[in-house]
């Protein structure tokens, strides 16, 4: 081997090492330029705008976090992207919708109010039922999804379960379409939790709305996330999930029922996604068969952003993506139409610069 071949090593090294900084510099320059224009040159947004955007960012971020945790749990344990996870959220949204519709249809007249319906007579119970049903139905769908579409493909090369997941996503979307028709529906919130109402904060002499539904969403999300963290850290179920994620075979040898654990993981991710779906419906009103698709992708972005397999990362990632998506278009002076582009752009950027995510991946190592 002559020395001239030795001089090619520079080409042999990561071409990415040259491309990446250039790309990064371009992106950074673009962002800074836009920020400069919006903040310094035009400066037409007062602080009340930013606070309002921040609040909606937090709210949507909470929803993304819940969905992202589901993605990260399944990826950590099966090393596959559950493409159909967004559809679990959609299932939750629909289930909650039907409960609310029923609650609004059942009449419970009183002397004072002959037109009273169940939803307004017992709003807490109604909301509780909506969440319960939404979460349970989504969990059930998740359970059967794993059993039918993923379990038979357990050992197969990675591409195959992924395609099955794509098929499952299609199936769920279309079942929903065929069962419920393409009609766009809206959540009929109980009066107590009416959309749009909220506490008013005065900033700069202008009112900023802190919506009740938003606060509710945020609080409930935090509660659910804390419960999940507790389960993962302190219960046997959580321990078996972590064990199976780390090394499936050894976990089986240690007496852990791997199939059961994987099913449980899907159930938990379904519960969270279902809750997210109901929250979405309460806060955003919309119910349609592809409602889970884009939030699903954004939640996956969040999961990767925080480090796939890392639950804390998913939580933080969701919040961050939510806020960037909310504040981004205004801060960068870009049309609101392009806000989805921002999420995708973040995804691509993260995967280029730090594919292991902000807080680092938590995955089983591939052995050579």
């Amino acid at each position: 081997m002559t020395t001239e071949e030795k001089s090619s090593p520079i080409k042999q090294r990561d071409l990415g090492k040259i491309i990446r900084p250039i790309f990064g510099a371009l992106v950074a320059a673009f962002v800074l330029w836009r920020l400069y224009i919006v903040f310094i040159i035009e400066a037409k947004y007062g602080p009340q705008v930013w606070v309002s955007l921040l609040i909606s960012g937090l709210i949507i971020g909470a929803v993304y976090s819940l969905i992202a945790i589901g993605y990260t749990l399944v990826y950590g344990i099966l090393l596959m992207i559950n493409f159909a996870h967004g559809e679990l959220m959609m299932v939750g949204t629909f289930a909650g919708y039907f409960i609310l519709e029923a609650a609004q249809a059942i009449k419970t007249p009183t002397a004072a109010n002959p037109d009273l319906v169940f939803a307004n007579a017992y709003p807490v119970l109604t909301i509780f039922l909506a969440f319960m049903v939404g979460m349970v139905v989504a969990a059930a769908v998740g359970y059967f999804l794993e059993k039918i579409a993923y379990r038979p493909l357990r050992g197969a090369p990675r591409l195959i379960p992924l395609i099955s997941a794509i098929g499952a996503s299609y199936v769920l979307q279309n079942i929903s379409l065929l069962l419920f028709s393409p009609q766009l529906r809206n959540y009929d919130n109980p009066d107590a939790l009416s959309r749009g109402d909220g506490w008013k904060l005065i900033i700069n002499e202008l009112p900023v709305n802190i919506p009740y539904t938003g606060v509710f969403t945020l609080v409930l999300s935090v509660v659910l996330m804390l419960v999940l963290l507790y389960i993962v850290k302190n219960t046997r179920l959580g321990k078996s999930m972590r064990a199976v994620a780390m090394d499936k075979n050894t976990a089986a040898l240690m007496g852990i029922n791997v199939n059961q654990t994987i099913s449980n993981t899907f159930i938990i991710s379904g519960l969270l996604a279902g809750a997210a779906g109901v929250m979405w419906g309460l806060h955003n009103a919309q119910v349609y068969n592809t409602v889970g698709f884009i939030p699903g992708i954004k939640a996956f972005t969040a999961a990767v952003f925080g480090g796939i397999g890392n639950i804390g990362g998913a939580m933080i990632g969701g919040m961050v993506i939510g806020m960037i998506e909310s504040i981004g278009p205004t801060a960068l002076g870009i049309s609101y139409q392009l806000k989805d582009v921002i999420a995708f752009a973040i995804l691509i950027s993260v995967l280029i610069f730090k594919p292991s995510g902000i807080l680092g991946e938590v995955l089983a190592e591939e052995k050579v």
């Binding site: 992924l162 395609i163 199936v171 079942i175 419920f180 992708i297 049309s335 752009a345």
Partner: protein
């Protein structure tokens, strides 16, 4: 020998599953379509738009019950036991369906209309499911399940019994012998020139048929043809080099918009002409491939899938946005794209386009075959099989992955460009995720790395729904189910590929060759 408890639970489970399937079919409104299809099969003239007569619903239901029995005949024990197994499953399914029918009865009796929530549950539809016989419909259902389930199960057991096996073997032997005699009797020169004669016939057909079978079929054939080219292009990326790309439509967009923007009066009125535009279209698609690929070649498979999906969506959103309206025409798309001209004469009738598409298919197949049976093709496959080992064997991963992506993108650009000129229109929705998924589905279902498979897949995806009008609404659902089922049962596709043979054998005994090339 399964113990009694497991067997009982098994039968219960199967009964429940089959009941749920038929209930589900009703819930999505498919029972009406199925009955229409059934009536068409039996060749009864049904005016389009009307629901077929009740008897066809009965036939469909009976067939389903028969299938339930057939699929569930027992596995062990005497024939009587096997039949009993199937019968019990059918009866259980029947009972559950009867319970469901009670609900339907309640709804129809009280005239409760829940169509706002569940579209298929109109009064007519529910009655139709009950054969328009109201409460007697329940008895019919139960009876059908019992009788036809028994029949299906009994028939299967009969066909699998020892005596039946003998008969089956004798029949198949008879056919094999006849086939061999025919083979032997053929004049010896035929096999050698057979290939060329066949090729000539195909070319002749390709030239003559488009002139004879009418505009509509030309349209469908052209559409299927474009999907074949796209499928082969995507196969180079997914099937040969193993990179799952979900945003393939972005490359279509590159090609389509190149041709469109250069050949339409609005927004730019450049009128460059079709042929130069196609070259530019392919080039733009390759450029997009490079831009996408260079930063992302190091990503692992599932990440690449999502990122390419994101990329496809970004392109679509950008094309649709107001931001680039001046450049790209926005959500309304680009209209009135002028077609190709050949030696001054317009070459844009539907027949001409079919010729163009046929020529492109031939080119694509040619290039694909040359590539997959070469050092490049083998390098790609080695990356797909085991990228780490491939790299250690000397394959430069980045270079080859990028190459596959760009060549695949080039084909997509070609398809996009031709499609835009043929439809004389293109818009952001022509290049949605759905299109990407369609191409991916047809490659996977048809058979990865298999040209006949991809052709089959394209026909099944695009051709069949045109013929089977009724099932249009159920097309996507069917494809989703098909993807899952295929992955579980036949991951290599409907028409699997096989690797080329290199060794020369003295004996041309077919049975010796088979074990080598088919995966056990």
């Amino acid at each position: 020998m399964k113990n009694r408890q497991n067997q009982n639970r098994d039968m219960l489970q199967k009964g429940v599953v089959f009941a749920i399937i038929i209930i589900f079919i009703m819930a999505i409104g498919f029972h009406e379509i199925a009955a229409s299809l059934t009536s068409r099969i039996f060749n009864v003239d049904v005016r389009r738009g009307s629901i077929a007569e009740v008897r066809f619903m009965m036939v469909f239901f009976g067939l389903y019950a028969f299938l339930t029995g057939w699929s569930n005949s027992g596995e062990e024990g005497s024939p009587a036991k096997k039949i009993l197994h199937g019968l019990i499953v059918s009866v259980i399914a029947g009972l559950i369906v009867v319970l469901f029918d009670l609900i339907l009865l309640f709804l129809t009796r009280n005239e409760i209309d829940i169509r706002a929530y569940l579209t298929a549950f109109s009064i007519e539809s529910m009655n139709y499911f009950l054969f328009n016989k109201n409460q007697f419909g329940l008895l019919y259902h139960f009876g059908f399940f019992t009788v036809f389930g028994f029949a299906g199960c009994a028939l299967k057991v009969l066909l699998n019994s020892a005596s039946a096996q003998n008969i089956k073997e004798r029949i198949s032997n008879f056919f094999k012998n006849t086939l061999n005699k025919i083979n032997g009797a053929m004049p010896p020169f035929l096999p050698k020139y057979g290939k060329y004669i066949l090729l000539l016939l195909v070319i002749a057909a390709a030239i003559i048929l488009p002139r004879t079978w009418g505009s509509y079929i030309n349209f469908v054939v052209g559409l299927v043809g474009l999907y074949v080219i796209a499928g082969i292009g995507l196969n180079i990326i997914v099937g040969l080099s193993g990179q799952l790309v979900l945003g393939y439509a972005a490359f279509f967009a590159m090609g389509a918009y190149s041709v469109a923007l250069l050949n339409a009066p609005e927004p730019h009125n450049i009128m460059l002409g079709f042929w130069p535009s196609i070259i530019i279209a392919i080039f733009m698609a390759i450029l997009a491939g490079l831009l996408l690929g260079i930063p992302l070649m190091g990503l692992r498979g599932d990440y690449l899938a999502i990122v390419t999906l994101g990329f496809g969506e970004i392109i679509r959103i950008l094309l649709k946005s107001d931001l680039l309206v001046d450049l790209t025409g926005g959500p309304r798309g680009i209209n009135d794209i002028h077609g190709p001209t050949l030696f001054g004469r317009p070459f844009s009738s539907d027949i001409d386009f079919v010729y163009i598409i046929f020529a492109c298919i031939a080119l694509t197949i040619f290039v694909y075959n040359r590539l997959q049976n070469s050092r490049t093709g083998r390098a790609w496959l080695s990356i797909k099989e085991d990228a780490i080992a491939a790299q250690a064997t000397g394959v430069n991963l980045r270079r080859y992955k990028l190459l596959a992506l760009c060549i695949g993108a080039a084909f997509a650009g070609l398809v996009g460009g031709i499609s835009a000129a043929r439809n004389q229109f293109t818009g952001p929705n022509d290049h949605s995720l759905l299109v990407s998924m369609n191409v991916l589905s047809l490659v996977i279902v048809g058979g990865v790395n298999s040209i006949p498979g991809i052709i089959l897949g394209a026909f099944a995806l695009k051709g069949l729904p045109e013929i089977l009008r009724e099932v249009q609404t159920y097309r996507q659902l069917a494809f989703g189910i098909l993807l899952i089922v295929m992955m579980i049962m036949r991951p290599k596709g409907l028409w699997p590929a096989s690797r080329p043979e290199y060794e020369q054998y003295e004996d041309s005994n077919a049975s010796v060759k088979n074990p080598r090339r088919e995966k056990k």
